[in-house]
Symmetry: C2
Amino acid sequence: MYKLIHKDGQAKRGELHTVHGVIQTPVFMNVATVAAIKGAVSTEDLLGLNTQVALSNTYHLHVRPGDEVIRKLGGLHKFMVWDRPILTDSGGFQVFSLAKLRKIREEGVEFQSHIDGHKIFMGPEESMRIQSNLGSTIAMAFDECPSSTAERAYVQDSVDRTTRWLERCRTEMKRLNGLEDTLNPKQMLFGITQGAIYEDIRMEHAKRIAEMDLDGYAIGGLAVGETHDEMYRIIEATVPYLPQDKPTYLMGVGTPANILEAVERGVDFFDCVYPSRNGRHGHVYTNKGKMNMFNAKYELDSDPIEEGCGCPTCRRYSRAYIRHLLKAKEMLGMRLCVLHNLYFYNTMMEEVRKAIEEDRFQEYKKMRLEGFEQSSR
Amino acid sequence: MYKLIHKDGQAKRGELHTVHGVIQTPVFMNVATVAAIKGAVSTEDLLGLNTQVALSNTYHLHVRPGDEVIRKLGGLHKFMVWDRPILTDSGGFQVFSLAKLRKIREEGVEFQSHIDGHKIFMGPEESMRIQSNLGSTIAMAFDECPSSTAERAYVQDSVDRTTRWLERCRTEMKRLNGLEDTLNPKQMLFGITQGAIYEDIRMEHAKRIAEMDLDGYAIGGLAVGETHDEMYRIIEATVPYLPQDKPTYLMGVGTPANILEAVERGVDFFDCVYPSRNGRHGHVYTNKGKMNMFNAKYELDSDPIEEGCGCPTCRRYSRAYIRHLLKAKEMLGMRLCVLHNLYFYNTMMEEVRKAIEEDRFQEYKKMRLEGFEQSSR
């Protein structure tokens, strides 16, 4: 289902064929945590932002409104009115980062909802059932994401358990996809490599799960506190052990520069809350680096955020207006910044794909990184 | 500039020709307090909601970002990117309702900004200069809006001062419109009748200012705590003394039922924060009355807010999705409700205009009022 179209160095230009359409890679997935992009951005807006894939969070949707509710309403695509691909994470990361009082056992994890404190149990089977109820295009395996500073012995045990969990995920997903009333019988499963910053554990884990013939492979447990150099080192150590004929997904990454570095190292899929979170705080991305739209110097600035940008915000509104809205705490200010940022990320990925096709990714990356640094000069 | 096209009873169907286009009346003006509709609604969105006129607040824009800033940026139309008519209020109402520690003198009012407490003086000339800097299509006269429970003697004194202020507004507006570098030399001025709930003071005031040949006349100081019946009584007492060949504007009103009652009594212009404020709280208008979208009964409801509604929300999203967004405190939930409500108000006004043209306003009003009451059954 993944077709490698072209390689430029290690950078891959590919296509993932799904039941909800073809994903051109490398791709940035736009984060719609609770089935909505934060910043009052609707799925209708996403159509104007060159968005290919929306990403939603299993844990959040399980606790509210409930995956059974979404299933009864026809699944996540119908619920949020989005007919293109949706990837759902497994809930693992949120269980380990958001939920309180968790207890990890071989079966899975017991934890308290961050909404109302009620007890929830989630293991590989539960995660697959929730994602099957959501009917996403791509489901992620249920894994443990150990801290980047965890002890080696803990990480090794955790990774071994994550492998056993992955086998259970695969079995359960196969069963669910075969049920007569399943929402998406072609739901794909991506496995996740873990191993904190221990290269040998990462390599070993990648090798083991590569043999399982999954629809794609993710690198998890990065961008959780380690340095950028450590992150790049782990990507370099891991990617060679993942199948070339499957998409590679670097979870939760990152800045535009992080993405360019990871594309260079062979990564196809990305997701990150930065464009929407930064947008809500008035921080916008441009070809010359980030801008803080609260800055007083934009008070009388009638230019768009970025000259020549084709996003719905820059085509119409000035820096001065956006700054005013943000200062006045008008929701519209946040919305306009988020629209711009998502367009920026999605457009950069378009350019990345073109650059790889034309064997000039190195040149493109250099040009972009030099541009981003201009704002700090 | 106002053309009375047709009358059905006292209900007027008219047109106000302005430098920013023709306004079809009766009309509901969409409130953009600080040059933005609350609920992350942009002026681009307004184009899809059949909006004819945006209304912005002089007081708010004077304190932030400052009317001089907006003037330097080319005026309010350019600032918020809206080339259709804009009405600005005079700041009077906000000075009396929002600002702290105000002192009223013959010259004007001294008060403290609600943002940072700094002292501001505003009188008729200041209000006109601010509105001239904003370059709105229609400026409102600077008036005092006494409480609906104020003593008769106070109200009489206040109304007399408001008349003297109106003369000063007219003189200053004329001067400003004649300046070479004025933004909108065709800026219109509407006078405001006051008089709390004293019919004789209202009638006398209406007669006096009707002689001043202004571009339009507003009924101010209503919907500030009096009953609906008192409000309708005052409208009935005032409208006959205002010129038929000028538009009549009932400020800050109101519910859909209030608007229908006032149209019947000869009112042309309306504005109210209800559709946007209620929308942000998940309260939406339908032909069968209001709905609270937080209600648990919508959890699995895949219908739109209102079947057959052509608004951007109902064309795409379900009650269940909107309820979920509101419960999850996603800004998108508020936005979708505000879009629906503004469309509802603007569409009702379209129907009102058609009903008057076809001499069936009474019938239309009866049908609407009966519909609105269904939700409480």
